[in-house]
Amino acid sequence: MAVKIKIPTPLQKLTGNKAEFISEGGNIRELIENLEKEYPGLKERLYDKEGKLRRFINIYVNEEDVRFLQRDATPLKDGDEVSIIPAIAGGGK
């Protein structure tokens, strides 16, 4: 399944400063495995040591948080937009 993925600023170092591109995967886990091959290091920013998605970074399929779908088993279909959105704390102080 070809999906559009949006990478947040803090992770763009790992994607050669790319904010948005097309990738493949039948579900979120497969998508992340594919991304890891192309952009090593991305996976460990998304999963903790126990292999669970981290609790301060969320993944959305279109507008829906995958935690309320099937987490990383959430299926993807052609044309879906996957966004990675981390907690950000800056207040411009």
């Binding site: 947040p8 600023t9 803090p10 904010a19 920013r45 981290r54 609790r55 301060f56 970074i57 969320n58 959305y60 507008e63 829906e64 948080d65 935690r67 309320f68 966004s83 959105i85 981390p86 907690a87 950000i88 704390a89 800056g90 207040g91 411009g92 102080k93």
Partner: protein
């Protein structure tokens, strides 16, 4: 409360709005907002709230104005360098609008003082600059059932969400816990354009005004995500999380936590000043 002629003139452009009117203006003049952090987010938020005639504005900030703040912290001027930000903010806001009672808190917000400070306000605007404070503010607002407008920025990204405790998702429903120290670049490394902070801070002011006026739809149940480089705004859904550690069915957090400060280059004591 009866509006004076001067007030009718001063606020005429918003009083003529069908959703505001004289009644709305009276609500604003009786309303109160606490702003945590008089920085890049808190500055524009405070200015618009004062201009609109919000009757009482509290400003919490323990820092003093530095020259490198002025690029984005539009409450303060060159002459203010070295002064406490809360005082500089009070003077500026009073100069703009004498209707506003400005309450400066030149203190660091902690688990010990936060409940007392937020108690006297209708809604809280979080413009702080670090995860420990953000989670502390969220938890305190949930525990006190106090509405909260959250805004955050990182380089060219901005986020905002409004939280009505018990009715809409809280920040921990969205992001369960803060990242451990070291996983997120420090504030000083990150950099920020003043205008990006301005956009998010003004959204927070708008949320506070809507809340006090009781108009429109608040930014509850969804996270607004702004990117300054492509000028895009998006919303993603944020449902209430039954497993939320502070507002879920079986909350694990029943008292406030002072997380270790990590968004600092210099080592500092724990947020509450204790030596834990």
């Amino acid at each position: 409360m009866k509006l004076t002629d001067e007030q009718i003139e001063r606020y005429s452009r918003q009083i003529i709005l069908p959703d505001v009117g004289g009644k709305g203006q009276e609500k604003l003049l009786k309303g109160s907002v606490l702003i945590i952090g008089a920085g890049g987010l808190g500055s524009p938020a405070a200015l618009y709230l004062a201009c609109a005639g919000v009757g009482k504005i509290g400003i919490v900030d323990s820092d003093k104005v530095e020259l490198n703040n002025l690029q984005r912290q539009i409450l303060h001027s060159t002459d203010d360098v070295g002064r406490p930000k809360s005082e500089s903010a009070k003077e500026r806001l009073n100069n703009i609008n004498g209707d506003v009672e400005v309450v400066p808190y030149h203190t660091r917000i902690t688990s010990k003082n936060i409940l007392d400070i937020i108690k006297g306000y209708d809604i809280i605007v979080d413009g702080s600059d670090n995860f420990p404070t953000r989670y502390l503010v969220n938890d305190a607002c949930v525990i006190s059932k106090k509405p909260l407008s959250h805004g955050g920025i990182f380089r060219f990204d901005g986020q905002a969400i409004t939280i009505l405790p018990g009715e809409s998702a809280c920040y921990r429903c969205l992001f369960h816990e803060p990242p451990p120290p070291g996983l997120v670049p420090s504030c000083q490394e990150a950099g920020i354009l003043g205008a990006v902070a301005g956009i998010i801070g003004v959204i927070q002011a708008n949320e506070a005004l809507k809340y006090i006026l009781g108009i429109g739809e608040l930014l509850t149940g969804s996270l607004l995500v702004f990117n300054a480089l492509d000028s895009s705004f998006r919303k993603v859904k944020v449902p209430m999380n039954p497993d939320c550690p502070v507002c879920g069915k079986n909350p694990a957090i029943t008292e406030l936590i002072d997380y270790e400060e990590f968004c600092q280059v210099r080592p500092r004591p724990a947020v509450d000043g204790s030596d834990r």
